[in-house]
C-alpha cells in the first residue's frame, strides 16, 4: 500500500473511505496495523467512528480493535495539531539542549509541552529516543525527522510551517510534499570496518548460498559462530536449524528493524548505507529455511526510510533477486514486505514484534513455544536483527573462516556500535569484537569519560575502573548502544531518565513490569529528592531484583539494570544523597498540606472561618 495515496475526494464519506482501505488489505485482520495507519494517514487520527468502521469491515469487535490501536504511541485516539512535533527525550538529547528546544517550540507554537496549540495547528510532545543519538536534539514532525536542532531552529521551523500553503488541514506524513526545514538525517558512518562496511567490492553472497544446500548454508553460519546482533547473542546457525526442522506449511523470515534501544542507531545507518546487504541476507535465509516470505519490521520512527527501502526492493525484484525463481533458481520464490511499526519499544522483543506483525498489541508471548516453532501466523519463524542478516551475506560472500578470523573466539566478526553523548564525533563505528572500552574511547576521541552506558538502558553503566572490559558477548554485551558521559554528568540523573523510559514503554501485560517500573521510578525519586535513607536504598535494590526475576520478557527483566548496575558501580552517587535518619516518611507534611495552607490564607476562607 503506497504511503502517498491521496486523501479521499470530497463527498466520499469517511466510512466509505475506511471501507476501501480495509478492502485494500483484503479484509485481513492480521493487517490491522497497516489498516489503522492508513486510516490515520487519511483522516489524521482514529475517532470512535473510524474504529467502528474498521471493526465492521474486518468483522471484529470494536473493543478488540481498540485493544490494538490504544497500545501504540503513534496512533492518536484524539485529534492533534496539523503538525505533530515529537521531541526525542533521552539523556543525550537533554544534555545537548532538548529542553530548551522544546521550550522554543512551545513558545513559537503557543502550545504547552504535551498539549496542542489553541489554533489547532501544533501539538508539542516528548517521545522516546527516535534513533538520532548522533544528531540530537532531534524531533519527528508528522514522521519527518529533523535533527541537530537549536532553539532558533525551532522558531524558524514553526514560522515556516505556519506559512506553508497546504490545502490539506490534516496531519502530514513523510512524502506528503511539505518541505520541513532541517528535515535531514546525516548518515554518520564514522569508521567502516573490514566486514560489513568493507571497502572492496564484495562478491555474490546469494549466488554462493544458492550453490549450497540449505543445510550447508546453516552449517556455514554455525562454523562462522555467528551470533545475533540485537544483543542477546543467540547462535544464528542454531536458530535457523531449529526453524528449518520445524514442520509446517510455511516458514517465515523476519528482520527486526525496530531499533528502539535508546542510543542505538546503527541499523538506521546500515539500512541507509547498505540495504542490499540486509535484503540479501534475508533472501539467503529464505533459501536456508525454505521460506517464501520475508518481513522487515521497521520502527515507526524510521518511516522516512520507507520510500528508499521500497525502491531498493523494487530494484531487486527487477534484477531477479526477489520474486519468482530468485537468483535464477527455478522454484525458489521469495519476496519481502516492510511492516511499519507505530511507536512501541517493546516490539523490539521478538515475540512482541510477531504479535505486532499480526496486527495485535505488542505484548510478548510466553515461551515455549519459541518463534522457531510457532512464530508469525503460528508458523516457524526466524527473527533476526538487521545487522545479523548483513553478516550472513558477508559470510556467504567470503566464507566462515574469514569471518571467524575477526573478533574473539566467543564473539566472531565485527560489531557496529553507535557512539553518542559527550564525544566529538558521534556516529557509527565498525570494530572487531573484543575491543576494550578504553580503546573505544580513544577511537571516539574522549580522554575523560566519567561513565559509559553500554547496551542502552537495558545494558550496564560502566565506570573508569572497568574501562579495560571488552565489548563481546562473554563480557559487555551490547546491541550497539554506547553512550558516553563526560565529567560533571550526574549518573543518577541519567539513570532517572532510563528508569522513566522503561515505565513509559512497559507494555503492561505482566504485574512486575507494569507496576514495578513505576515503583522503581517513585522510589528512586525519593532518593533523588534527598529524602531517602539506607533502608530505602536496600528496599529499592530488593524491588529491582524482584522486577528482574519475575518479569515476563526482556523489557522487565532489564528495566532495573540502570539502578542495579549503578548501585554496584557508583555506590557513592547514592550515598551522597542519603539522609542519616533510620527512617524518613515518603510524605512531606508541609508539601502535602500546602494546598490546605494556601486555602486557609485565602481571605474568603479566613472570613468564613471567623463567621
Amino acid at each position: 500500500m503506497a504511503m502517498t495515496e491521496q486523501a479521499p475526494p470530497a463527498g466520499v464519506s469517511q466510512a466509505a473511505a475506511i471501507d476501501a482501505i480495509v478492502r485494500a488489505f483484503g479484509c485481513d485482520s492480521t493487517r490491522l496495523m497497516d489498516i489503522a495507519q492508513e486510516v490515520h494517514r487519511r483522516l489524521g487520527w482514529l475517532s470512535d467512528a473510524s474504529i467502528q468502521a474498521i471493526a465492521a469491515g474486518l468483522g471484529m469487535h470494536v473493543v478488540d480493535v481498540e485493544d490494538m490501536v490504544s497500545f501504540y504511541a503513534f496512533l492518536n485516539r484524539a485529534p492533534k495539531g496539523r503538525f505533530h512535533i515529537r521531541l526525542s527525550k533521552t539523556p543525550v538529547s537533554l544534555m545537548q539542549g532538548a529542553a530548551e528546544v522544546a521550550q522554543a517550540f512551545a513558545d513559537a507554537t503557543g502550545s504547552a509541552i504535551g498539549a496542542t496549540s489553541p489554533d489547532g495547528e501544533f501539538t508539542v510532545e516528548w517521545t522516546s529516543d527516535i534513533g538520532m543519538g548522533d544528531q540530537e536534539p532531534s524531533a519527528l514532525i508528522n514522521g519527518t525527522v529533523v535533527t541537530a536542532l537549536s532553539p532558533q531552529d525551532a522558531t524558524a521551523i514553526v514560522a515556516s510551517l505556519r506559512h506553508s500553503q497546504q490545502a490539506n488541514t490534516l496531519p502530514l506524513f513523510p512524502g506528503a510534499g511539505v518541505a520541513v526545514p532541517q528535515a535531514r538525517v546525516a548518515s554518520s558512518l564514522r569508521q567502516p570496518g573490514p566486514v560489513l562496511f568493507r571497502p572492496d567490492a564484495p562478491g555474490d553472497g546469494l549466488g554462493a548460498a544458492l550453490e549450497l544446500s540449505p543445510e550447508r548454508v546453516i552449517e556455514t553460519l554455525t562454523k562462522a559462530r555467528l551470533r545475533g546482533r540485537g544483543g542477546a547473542g543467540f547462535p544464528t546457525g542454531l536458530k535457523w536449524k531449529l526453524c528449518r526442522q520445524s514442520i509446517s506449511e510455511a516458514h517465515h523470515v523476519v528482520c527486526n528493524a525496530d531499533e528502539g534501544e535508546p542510543g542505538t542507531f546503527k541499523d538506521r545507518v546500515l539500512l541507509t548505507e547498505a540495504p542490499d546487504l540486509v535484503f540479501e541476507g534475508m533472501t539467503i535465509a529464505g533459501h536456508a529455511l525454505g521460506a517464501r516470505h520475508g518481513l522487515v519490521y521497521l520502527r515507526g520512527e524510521y518511516a522516512y526510510l520507507w520510500q528508499s527501502l521500497q525502491e531498493v526492493l523494487d530494484r531487486r525484484r527487477r534484477s531477479g533477486l526477489l520474486g519468482r525463481d530468485v537468483g535464477g533458481r527455478v522454484g525458489f520464490d521469495f519476496d519481502i514486505r516492510i511492516q511499519l511499526g507505530a511507536g512501541a519499544y517493546v516490539c523490539g522483543e521478538e515475540s512482541s514484534l510477531i504479535e505486532s506483525l499480526q496486527g495485535k498489541r505488542g505484548a510478548p508471548r510466553d515461551r515455549p513455544p519459541f518463534p522457531t516453532d510457532r512464530g508469525y501466523l503460528e508458523q516457524p519463524t526466524a527473527v533476526d536483527n538487521v545487522e545479523t542478516f548483513a553478516c550472513v551475506s558477508r559470510i556467504m560472500q567470503s566464507g566462515a573462516e574469514w569471518f571467524a578470523g575477526f573478533g574473539t573466539h566467543e564473539s566472531t566478526g565485527t560489531k557496529l556500535l553507535s557512539l553518542s553523548g559527550d564525544c566529538p564525533r558521534p556516529g557509527v563505528v565498525e570494530v572487531p569484537f573484543g575491543i576494550t572500552i578504553n580503546e573505544l574511547l580513544d577511537l571516539a576521541g574522549v580522554p575523560d569519560a566519567a561513565f559509559v552506558q553500554v547496551g542502552g538502558p537495558s545494558g550496564q553503566c560502566v565506570g573508569p575502573k572497568d574501562y579495560g572490559r571488552r565489548i563481546a558477548y562473554e563480557d559487555l554485551s551490547t546491541g550497539g548502544s554506547i553512550m558516553i558521559f563526560g565529567p560533571g554528568r550526574d549518573v543518577l540523573d541519567v539513570i532517572r531518565q532510563f528508569t522513566e523510559f522503561f515505565a513509559d514503554e512497559s507494555c503492561g501485560w505482566c504485574t512486575p513490569c507494569r507496576v514495578g517500573t513505576t515503583l522503581l521510578k517513585l522510589n528512586l525519586d525519593k532518593i533523588l529528592a534527598e529524602r531517602g535513607t539506607l533502608a530505602d536504598v536496600k528496599a529499592l535494590e530488593a524491588l529491582g531484583l524482584t522486577v528482574t526475576r519475575m518479569s515476563r520478557c526482556g523489557l522487565g527483566q532489564t528495566a532495573a539494570n540502570p539502578i542495579l548496575s549503578t548501585m554496584r558501580n557508583f555506590p557513592q552517587a547514592y550515598e551522597a544523597r542519603l539522609r542519616p535518619e533510620p527512617y524518613v516518611p515518603r510524605l512531606d507534611l508541609d508539601e502535602a498540606l500546602a494546598e490546605a495552607t494556601e486555602i486557609r490564607r485565602h481571605p474568603q476562607a479566613a472570613g468564613e472561618e471567623r463567621a
Binding site: D64, E66, F71, P368, T511, L519, R549, M550
Partner: protein, 241 residues
C-alpha cells in the same frame, strides 16, 4: 511410565504428569498448590500476574504456561520466590484502590487471600491512587475498576467460553485498563449467566444483589487459606495409600 506419563520433581516431591499438562495442571492434580492469581483452570493461561513463577531447571518461568516435561526440577516454595510473589501481590494492592473492609468480595477475594497466605502484612510501596471508573449501568452486573488487577480472566472467558468478546485491554503500561465493547456495560451483550461475569478473582466484576450475603467467619477464605482445596487432594491421596 512411558512417553505420555512421566514425572518431574517439585520442591523435592515427585509429581507425575501426562503429556500436554502444564506444571500447574500437573501439580493441581497431584494436590500441590502453587500460588497463582490470573490462572483459571477452565481458561487458556495468559501469564499476566507472574505469581506462579517457579524456578524450572534453574530458569524462572510461569508454571501456568510451561509444559511439564520428564525430569524437570522445579522449585516453588523457596524463600526467594515466596518473597517475590509477596511483592507481586503488594504491587497489585498499591496499583489499584483496594479497600478490603468495605469490599463485598472480602473473604472471598483471591488477592486478599494470597496476601494472607504469603504473609503480606501492610504495603511498603507507595499507593498509586489511580482514578478508576465504575460502571453500574447493567441491571445484574457491576464493574468497579478500582479493584481490577488486569488478570484478563473476564476477557478470556468472554472470548473463549461465552463467544462474545465483551472485554479487552486498552492502553499500555501503568495506564492499561479493562475496556468493554460499548460505552457502558448495559449496551454490551453480557448476561449474568456468562462465564465472564463469574471468573473475577477480586471485586471488580460482581453480580448485583449478592454482596455481603455470607456472614463473616463463613466466607470462603475464613474457612481455610487459599489453595487448601488443592492441597486437600494430596492429603486424601495419602490416606488412600
Amino acid at each position: 511410565m512411558n512417553e505420555d506419563h512421566f514425572s518431574f520433581s517439585l520442591d523435592g516431591v515427585e509429581v507425575t504428569a501426562t503429556k500436554g499438562q502444564t506444571i500447574i495442571e500437573a501439580c493441581d492434580a497431584a494436590g500441590i498448590y502453587i500460588p497463582r492469581l490470573c490462572y483459571h483452570p477452565e481458561l487458556e493461561p495468559a501469564g499476566h500476574c507472574r505469581v506462579c513463577t517457579c524456578k524450572i531447571d534453574g530458569r524462572r518461568s510461569s508454571a501456568c504456561t510451561m509444559p511439564a516435561a520428564a525430569g524437570m526440577v522445579v522449585e516453588s516454595e523457596t524463600p526467594e520466590l515466596t518473597a517475590d510473589r509477596r511483592m507481586l501481590i503488594e504491587m497489585l494492592f498499591v496499583e489499584g484502590n483496594h479497600v478490603c473492609p468495605s469490599c463485598e468480595k472480602s473473604g472471598d477475594c483471591e488477592l486478599q487471600a494470597l496476601g494472607t497466605r504469603l504473609g503480606l502484612a501492610a504495603p511498603t510501596q507507595p499507593y498509586l491512587l489511580p482514578q478508576r471508573e465504575l460502571d453500574a449501568s447493567h441491571p445484574d452486573i457491576f464493574i468497579d475498576r478500582n479493584r481490577c488487577v488486569l488478570c484478563s480472566r473476564c476477557i478470556r472467558a468472554s472470548r473463549m467460553v461465552d463467544g462474545k468478546s465483551v472485554f479487552a485491554l486498552e492502553g499500555r503500561g501503568i495506564h492499561m485498563r479493562l475496556a468493554i465493547d460499548a460505552k457502558t456495560l448495559d449496551e454490551t451483550t453480557i448476561a449474568a449467566a456468562d462465564k465472564a461475569a463469574h471468573v473475577c478473582p477480586v471485586g471488580c466484576i460482581v453480580i448485583k444483589r449478592t454482596g455481603f450475603k455470607t456472614p463473616y467467619g463463613q466466607r470462603r477464605f475464613d474457612q481455610a487459606p487459599i489453595g487448601s482445596d488443592i492441597e486437600a487432594k494430596r492429603h486424601s491421596f495419602r490416606q488412600v495409600k
